[in-house]
Amino acid sequence: MLQLAAPETIVTITVLAVLGVDLTLLRGKSVSTRFHVGAVVSILGCAMAGWFALARHEEFNLLNGILVVNPVTDFVKCALLILTIFTVMISVTGKYTEHAGEYLSIVLLATIGLMFLVSAEDLLIIFIALELASLSLYILTAFNKHNARAAEAALKYFLFGGMSAAFLLFGFSLLYGMSGSTNLTEIARSLQGRGMDPLLLVAIVTTVIGFGFKVAAVPFHLWAPDAYEGAPTPSAAFIGAGSKVASFYIVAKIFTLAFAGAEGSAVWHGYVAGWTPTIAVVAALSMVLGNLTAIVQSSVKRLLAYSAIAHAGYMLLGVLAHTSASNSALMFYVITYALTTIGAFGVVAVVESATGSDRLDNFAGLSRRAPGLSLCMLVFLLSLGGIPPLAGFIGKFFLFSAVVNMDAQNLGLLWLVILAVAMSAVSFYYYLRVLKQVYVQDAAAEAPAIIVPPMTMLALALLAALVIVLGCAPSLLISHL
């Protein structure tokens, strides 16, 4: 059994190792050294865990859905670990805390929660894993003790998160009440043939609300911009990346498995009540509001937050299509999105620590001050905007074509895709605004070159390369999902 949870176990040991090393060997060393050593340890641990996950080719379902292991979950876990590695690598610039060991270990703890979440097919475990991850994320948000905004952001995040947990729990309890089971497949089995009774509808709606908060979909998104802006940038990156991957994986799983038979229909002129139309509404709202609000932002982190909301909208399209093709397209999209987001936040982190703020104006003339960094930013933002041949484009293509393909006869879901594509065209504008600052505006004459910490630069370069490679050769990733 320990072997089944080997990756999680390894990460747990790494947490202890990081803490131990930080508290014993590194006492009195500079924050930077502590961060670097801690990061190396964390990276080694994560890499080992990831290798374990990839190397085994097992299918196992422990205790009826408490721990499900199969190649896909292992692959997603591996992706989570890679995201964690990158998060750790961009964390080392940190001026936001002196507690390097604690910071890194909480990142790893959050990762453990997310890994369990991926493996769960039982409502209780899902809830517990989700809370483990969420609690860690609240702490990560609040980590900058010198910044009042961080505290405010964390509080907001915490309150919204708690409320969402309550909604989720309510929804889960209704499901349990109706089916007498907490296992997803069994719930579906006993819900078969019940029709669309009001209780089930309430369960659907509360579940959607609960996860809506988690993935920051409109209208449950209010915490996100503040949290992204206030949190230390690596934390924001992790909230936007790792937690998104796991959340969407589990959202897709819950809706596809537990609510099988209650799909309803969201096709044009063919509405049938169920969970897909509910999600369609949330997705449409997220795409529209996220993109339109992002246009007027002047803080890059807030801009990325709204863009994250919009992207959550696209991803929800993948959830509502619930075919095997759409699920793998969804995971491709989420993973590449996560990679890109970490990269973008990484760049923001560097600029923030060099110029003191993440205002748009602070990016002016970045292409002269830090050419490599700018090139990475170019890749990340264009990928977010969906420009080929970057991963973001190919992800969108996978996702949208899978969604349309769901109702191939009548192209009934085309309206959602048209909306999504239209909004994606809008999104291009605000990404280009940032790039305009980077490449077109001139920096103030006295602005010095920005020194990028080598480890961060390495992470960003690797991420940019990954985004390009996955865009040009998406088969590398999609064939595993």
Binding site: I387, F397, S401, A408, L411, L432, K436, Y439, V440, S475
Partner: protein
């Protein structure tokens, strides 16, 4: 061999990125060599194509098997014409931007990236690949204009980028929908244009998807009323930028209209034929009319591009071989001539006089100060008017011939456009070069003489004039490539019954 046009361009980009920061000379040399190599490869490769009427595969390998995308480069006569055009435009564009001193290396890196993307579009026979290259051109365009442009450059650049992006997203919707339908008809996913052209899309599908995709591409082709990016974009762009915009980027749109929108949805095209023709003619007349009242020299040329691209669209709308031949030839011709016009206006005149306002130019007597610029502009203007002997005439001749057969009334309106075209060109010639206005004391008289026309400019101008003349006198050179294409099965459904 032709695939190397793409690779060479991107290799050039990489080499440029590795160059030391402030070595402008090396950057220019690398850029010119790359463009020249691309051009030579394009011409030789095109000449070696044994059967220009058929689609000759260059490379075809699996790319993303999950969605049936292949890495499929191929060429038929139409591609050949446009690839050669791109080669010529690339070389001359660099010759006309020899004086870029500000961040030279980055300029040429973006420039070559744009060129590489353009080659890619013309050679892709996989829909996704074509789209990838198509979008790849947007970003370099944006930066070339926003960074190195003039007059409201950021506005013009943003407008161009957004228009292109909106257009390409319309195409994306159509592409996804077509992919889904094709997947169900073929039984497997495919994005191969050759295979997709065998799929029969239902009438209602074509009715809705055709305008979507066509407009998506036609935005870039400058179709009225989606043309508004063109004048501002052209004006804002640096010389080489506007040369490429008018020279090849607008052709991307027209090529997409022909290859994708019309190739995949022939029924839709037949249904919307009138609308396309009407918009094309409005574009011809409107573009010419607006060009007639501009005060900014570059705006005149910018609107003239809209007008001339109207002929391309009109040719496409004829749906008979002669009109389509004319449309493709007009793409080539306009690419050459507009490039030359922008070269004269942007590089030869504006870079020296620092004004494009006719009122200022009138007082400068540019025709005497820069006789070479004057003569070049006259020749280019004459070619652009569509006077016989230059490529524009043969092309517009065929377009009009084709159009007579289908819409005689609309064709007469196009005639009005030609006349107005003559008027604005003459006006520009007079105002900018051979004005009678007396120099007034200030501004008119130059304290220092204008820098003489440099050798690269002369070479560039001669190449373009030569190309236009050669094609004007021996259109068969290109017609031999273009004509057989429309006999191929690829266009069979499109031309059903409309052959001339």
């Amino acid at each position: 061999m032709l695939a190397w046009t793409i690779y060479i361009s991107f290799i050039g980009v990489l080499v440029l990125m590795l160059l030391p920061r402030d070595n402008a000379k090396a950057a220019r040399a690398v850029a010119l060599l790359t463009a020249l190599a691309g051009c030579v490869v394009a011409i030789i490769g095109a000449m070696q194509q044994p059967h220009p009427g058929e689609v000759t595969t260059i490379v075809k390998t699996d790319w993303i098997p999950q969605i049936g995308a292949t890495y499929y480069l191929a060429a038929d006569g139409i591609s050949l014409v446009l690839v050669v055009l791109t080669g010529l435009a690339a070389v001359t564009g660099i010759l006309f931007s020899w004086n870029i001193e500000k961040r030279t290396k980055e300029f040429f890196a973006f420039y070559l990236a744009l060129i590489g993307g353009v080659y890619g579009v013309f050679l892709s026979f996989d829909l996704l690949l074509l789209f990838v290259f198509y979008e790849l051109t947007i970003i370099p365009k944006y930066f070339l204009i926003a960074r190195w442009g003039s007059t409201r450059k950021e506005y013009g650049a943003m407008k161009l980028a957004l228009y292109s992006f909106v257009g390409s997203h319309l195409v994306l919707i159509g592409m996804i929908a077509a992919w889904v339908v094709a997947k169900h008809q073929l039984g497997h996913a495919s994005l191969d244009l050759m295979e997709l052209s065998k799929v029969t899309f239902s009438a209602s599908f074509q009715h809705w998807m055709f305008p979507l995709v066509f407009i998506g591409f036609a935005i870039l082709a400058g179709m009225w009323p989606f043309h508004t990016w063109a004048p501002t974009g052209h004006v804002a762009a640096p010389t080489a930028g506007s040369m490429l915009l008018a020279g090849v980027v607008m052709k991307l749109g027209a090529y997409g209209c022909l290859r994708v929108a019309m190739g995949l949805f022939p029924e839709g095209m037949r249904e919307w034929q009138w609308a396309v023709a009407a918009l094309a003619v409005v574009g011809i007349v409107y573009g010419a009319g607006v060009a007639l009242v501009q005060r900014d020299f570059k705006f005149v040329i910018g609107y003239s591009s809209v007008s001339h691209m109207g002929f391309v669209l009109l040719g496409l709308a004829t749906l008979n071989t002669i009109g389509l031949d004319g449309a493709v030839l007009q793409m080539f011709s306009h690419g050459i001539i507009a490039g030359l016009l922008f070269g004269v206006v942007g590089r030869m005149v504006y870079d020296r006089t620092h004004t494009r306002d006719f009122n200022d130019l009138e007082r400068m007597d540019v025709g005497k100060l820069l006789p070479f610029a004057g003569i070049t502009f006259v020749i280019a203007g004459v070619a652009s008017m569509g006077l016989p002997g230059f490529s524009g005439f043969v092309a517009e001749l065929q377009v009009l011939m084709g159009a007579w057969a289908v819409f005689p009334k609309i064709t007469m309106l196009a005639g009005v456009g030609i006349v107005v075209g003559v008027a604005y060109t003459l006006r520009a010639v007079q105002k900018a070069f051979y004005s009678d206005a007396k120099p007034d004391g200030h501004g008119g008289q130059h304290d220092h003489p204008l820098e003489p026309i440099s050798v690269p400019e002369r070479v560039g101008a001669v190449i373009l004039i030569g190309a236009s003349l050669v094609i004007g006198l021996f259109p068969t050179l290109l017609m031999n490539w273009i004509e057989p294409c429309f006999q191929s099965p690829l266009f069979e459904r499109l031309l059903k019954g409309g052959s001339l």
